[in-house]
Structure formats: C-alpha cells, structure tokens
Symmetry: C2
C-alpha cells in the first residue's frame, strides 16, 4: 500500500507546511556550513512546491528572478546533501524530487508523470547475492520502475 508520504502531491503556493520544509532544509544546510540566501530559499521552495518530479529547466522557468546557474548549483547542492534525489525517465530525461527518509526506489507513471515510492521492496539483498555469484562486490545500484499509476490505468 501507499505510505502517507509516498505520493507526491504538492501545492501551488507556499503553505505553512512547505514553508516548514524550506526552513528545515535551510537549517540542515546551515548545519553543514552552507549559507542561508534568498535565491537558495527560492530554489528549495520551488522544488518543494512541485507535485511531480521536475526538471532543472522547469525550476528555472518557475523562478525567472533566479539565475539559471544558481538553480543548477542549488539543485546540485541539494542532491549532494541528500535533500533531493534524482530520478531518470525512460527517455533518460533527468528529473528531481524531494528526498524521503532512507533509501528507496521510485515508480514513475509514464502517463501523468506521478511518482510513488516503492515500499516493502527489498531488492538489495537479491542484487548483492547475484553480484556475488558474478564475483562482484556490490556498492550501489540505480533502479527506476516505469508503468502507470492507478488513475492512469483505467
């Protein structure tokens, strides 16, 4: 089933909740020595406002007052600090979305672009065992699952 935080349905405007998300992320960045700046907050807020995995370009469009390089740099910082994770569509288009707790994989709807976290999906051990059989020591993996969400399956 779907956990309470699995489906990414956001809001068009900053809500108290998303403002809290921004503050939280800014605080975590500050704790790692990164400065609290207006453009950076705008990037985080825009990312938090997206309902679906988004592209860097979409963020640039949503933030005409923020330089393109700043958006890209902000996004990269967020990925490096695990605040945002990258998802890859079937056509290899790169998108982003706010991270959730722990390691997990995404199920992406090819129709509407929605994303859901795959839960109770422990492929790690299976992959590691298979890697062992090939004489490899697994250190990581990249997995994306594609299909149709419930609403688009009808």
């Amino acid at each position: 089933m779907i956990s309470s935080t699995a489906k990414h349905k956001g809001h068009d405007h900053p809500t108290p909740a998303s403002a809290a998300v921004v503050d939280d992320i800014v605080a975590q960045l500050a704790h790692q020595g990164y400065r609290d700046t207006e453009p950076r907050r705008l990037v985080i807020a825009a990312a938090a406002a997206q309902e679906r995995p988004f592209t860097a370009e979409e963020l640039c469009t949503a933030l005409p007052c923020v330089g393109r390089a700043t958006v890209y740099r902000g996004l990269r910082l967020l990925v490096e600090t695990d605040q945002v994770c990258r998802v890859l569509l079937e056509d290899r288009e790169l998108r982003y979305q706010l991270s959730h707790q722990g390691h997990h994989h995404h199920m992406l709807c090819a129709i509407c672009g929605a994303s859901a976290d795959l839960i109770d999906c422990d492929v790690e051990d299976i992959l590691r065992a298979a890697a062992d059989r090939s004489g490899f020591r697994m250190s990581g993996h990249w997995l994306e699952v594609y299909g149709r969400c419930g609403e688009c399956s009808d």
Copy 2:
C-alpha cells in the same frame, strides 16, 4: 571514400571470432532491410572489439575514417535492433555493449569498467508486486548495479 585496405590501429584487426560476430549482425540487419555498408561494418567491428562497455566517442576515436554522425546513427540502429544495449554508469555516462541473449542486467565495476551480466537475478516479479502495492501497473524498469569486480576487490 573509405578504402577497404585502410587499417588504422592494432586494435582494429578483427579476430576470426569477431569477424563472425560482425557477419552475424550484418546478416540480421540485412534480414530487416538494412544495407550492408563498409562504415556500418566498421562500427559493428569496433563495437565487437571492445572489451568493456564503451562510449560513442570512444568508437569515433577508434574509427577516425568514419564520420561521427555515422557512428552515432549506427549505434542507434544497433540499439533499436537489440544488437547492442546501453548501460548507464553512476555518473550517468552512457555506454554501450553488445547484447547477450534475453533480458538481463549488468554489474559494472567502478574501478576497471568491466561489466558482467547478473545471472539468476529475477527482480521482475518482486518489482511488479511492489508496484502493485503502490497501485501501479509496471511496464518496464531500468536497473544498473555498481561495485567492484573480483580482480579489483583485492
């Protein structure tokens, strides 16, 4: 244009085995209506000569007598006809390698770049079940496993 006797480098001379591979692929392409041309054969031979997953650029370098566009077009054709499959490194660099039978996944060595097919690794069912739990109907997936091969683990 390209002289059939023009040989460039040492790693260009085909072994009997790779020559057979080239003939086989050319034959399969011919069966699908694609022509047998010298540049295309060179691309296939160069791909078959690679020991590890390779980039399009590496093929261009290995084939200075073949136009870049031809290399890219040839590679795309080979992917579309399932003669070659694409693999994605952790840094999202795109590489290629000759296809093997059936659907499978790759284990990539982060040190030497070697690739091994994961055997007895049936994650399909697990993913589909997890997708179901999220209300999704799975239609495909992308999976790459990273780590160290036996030789690089020591």
